[in-house]
């Protein structure tokens, strides 16, 4: 799996690199076209991470930075889903790292100067490995929306950043997960750099009552897909569809 051919990325499904409404792209988006490396010349493989490197609490943002007996402030939620490739095959033993603002929309980062309060029991970092069926889950609190410097009155929708490793470095992906029903989604210049509304919808986690833990956690389902072999060779129906 770490050296099988991958189909080319469909860049039309990804955000435009140069999207002036997101101001930071203006001086940072490359102007020259990408140069395609033929599949036969592509470097294969990628880093592997052992389950032994990750503790169970690493995936529990509610308590992984809290004083013993305390927990983070905010709506307690479970984020869970499958990690698949484009042939709809589960990707087991894949590293997923997440980061997010706290319930008031503030990051625990020395560079975040937003006046909203920090939560002493929340850092906003988590990580886990997918299991043998490609499943993952995190316990966390729902992050707050926040204003950001983009030249106007811009607010990020509530979101969680995901960094995902497949089994090949060429599958490497960083993305963001949003929440069903957030009115900021439609007015976010970062999300609007994605042209196809179905692609935007793919980044929106769905409320998942069946996986809520009564009197404890609300649940959201967020499935993710990394590059895979040419889809024409495989059935590619998402599980549960």
């Amino acid at each position: 799996m770490s050296d099988e051919p991958l189909q080319p990325r469909d860049w039309s499904w990804h955000p435009a690199s140069d999207f002036p409404a997101y101001r930071s792209t203006r001086l940072r988006a490359p102007r020259q076209p990408l140069i395609a490396i033929p599949e036969a010349l592509r470097d294969t493989g990628g880093p592997a991470f052992g389950h032994d490197l990750i503790a169970e609490t690493d995936a529990d943002l509610i308590i992984n930075s809290a004083t013993a007996g305390e927990s983070a402030i905010g709506e307690r939620i479970l984020i869970h889903g499958h990690l698949l490739d484009e042939a709809a095959r589960p990707i087991p033993d894949a590293l997923i790292e997440v980061w997010q603002a706290n319930a008031s929309g503030r990051y625990r980062h020395k560079r975040d100067g937003y006046q909203a309060a920090l939560d002493p029991n929340f850092s906003g970092c988590g990580r886990c490995m997918t299991d043998s069926d490609g499943r993952y889950s995190f316990r966390t609190i729902r992050p707050g929306p926040y204003p950001w410097p983009n030249g106007g009155n811009d607010w990020r929708p509530a979101h969680i950043h995901f960094s995902i490793f497949g089994h090949q470095f060429a599958q490497r992906l960083i993305t963001q997960m949003y929440f069903e029903g957030d009115p900021h989604i439609a007015i976010c210049p970062i999300l609007n750099a994605i042209a196809d509304p179905r692609a935007v919808s793919q980044l929106v986690a769905r409320l998942d009552m069946a996986h809520a833990v009564p009197m404890d956690l609300q649940a959201y389902r967020f499935d993710m897909v990394l590059r895979g072999p040419a889809a024409t060779y495989f059935e590619n129906r998402p599980e549960g569809a």
Partner: protein, 196 residues
């Protein structure tokens, strides 16, 4: 809508389209360190292991890659993260080497300590290191490749795809084992970025 008890236990549909597609990329933003290098963000790591440093380097010629990420006006990014992937000294990707580094929050300089890669004899490829760059303002991660000035690059089939005038953007010169590799996101010296 009338109260319906079934709705309180209904499973969610998937967020994936049909046919399924790769999850769209989104920018790493300026606070990526929180998730992947939390000490850099000023966080006392809640994790017992550091995935970035918890990897021994295999045998080989020790080298350091040092560089900066510059925008179209020459301003230095101070919140970028760079990951590298390369073959070992024998050219094997099965024993490939992965590294991750952050631009310094003040100077913007990133530093990757690794060993010089080799190349498998049958490929015709010159030794190289892939660098994947994410930052605020980059909606998609950028992939480039570093080559070494002292190597014979004349027959490398990937460099052959690059217009000659742009090849120098991929070639690093070393001094005492340190190779400088500045990445220009735009401008007359815009670095070559690849699609693999």
């Amino acid at each position: 809508m009338a109260y319906d008890p079934a709705r309180t236990t209904a499973p969610a549909a998937t967020n994936l389209p049909e046919p399924i597609k790769e999850t769209p990329s989104q920018t790493a933003g300026p606070f990526i360190h929180v998730g992947i290098m939390c000490a850099t963000a000023g966080i006392t790591p809640p994790f017992g292991t550091d995935l970035t440093t918890n990897r021994d380097l295999p045998a080989g010629e020790k080298i350091t890659i040092e560089g900066r990420i510059l925008d179209g006006e020459g301003a230095v990014a101070t919140e970028a993260v760079i990951e590298s992937w390369q073959a070992d000294r024998a050219g094997s990707f099965a024993r490939g080497i992965w590294r991750r580094a952050a631009s310094d929050l003040e100077t913007g300089i990133f530093r990757i300590e690794t060993v010089k890669p080799g190349t498998a004899p049958d490929t015709g490829l010159a030794p190289h290191i892939a660098l994947w760059i994410v930052a605020r303002g980059l909606n998609n991660g950028l992939l480039t490749q570093l080559y070494f000035a002292e190597d014979d690059l004349t027959s490398d089939p990937i460099l052959a795809l690059v217009p000659e005038a742009r090849r120098p953007t991929l070639i690093a010169s070393g001094r005492d084992g340190t190779y400088c590799f500045d990445v220009h996101l735009q401008g007359p010296h815009e670095t070559v970025f690849f699609d693999t």
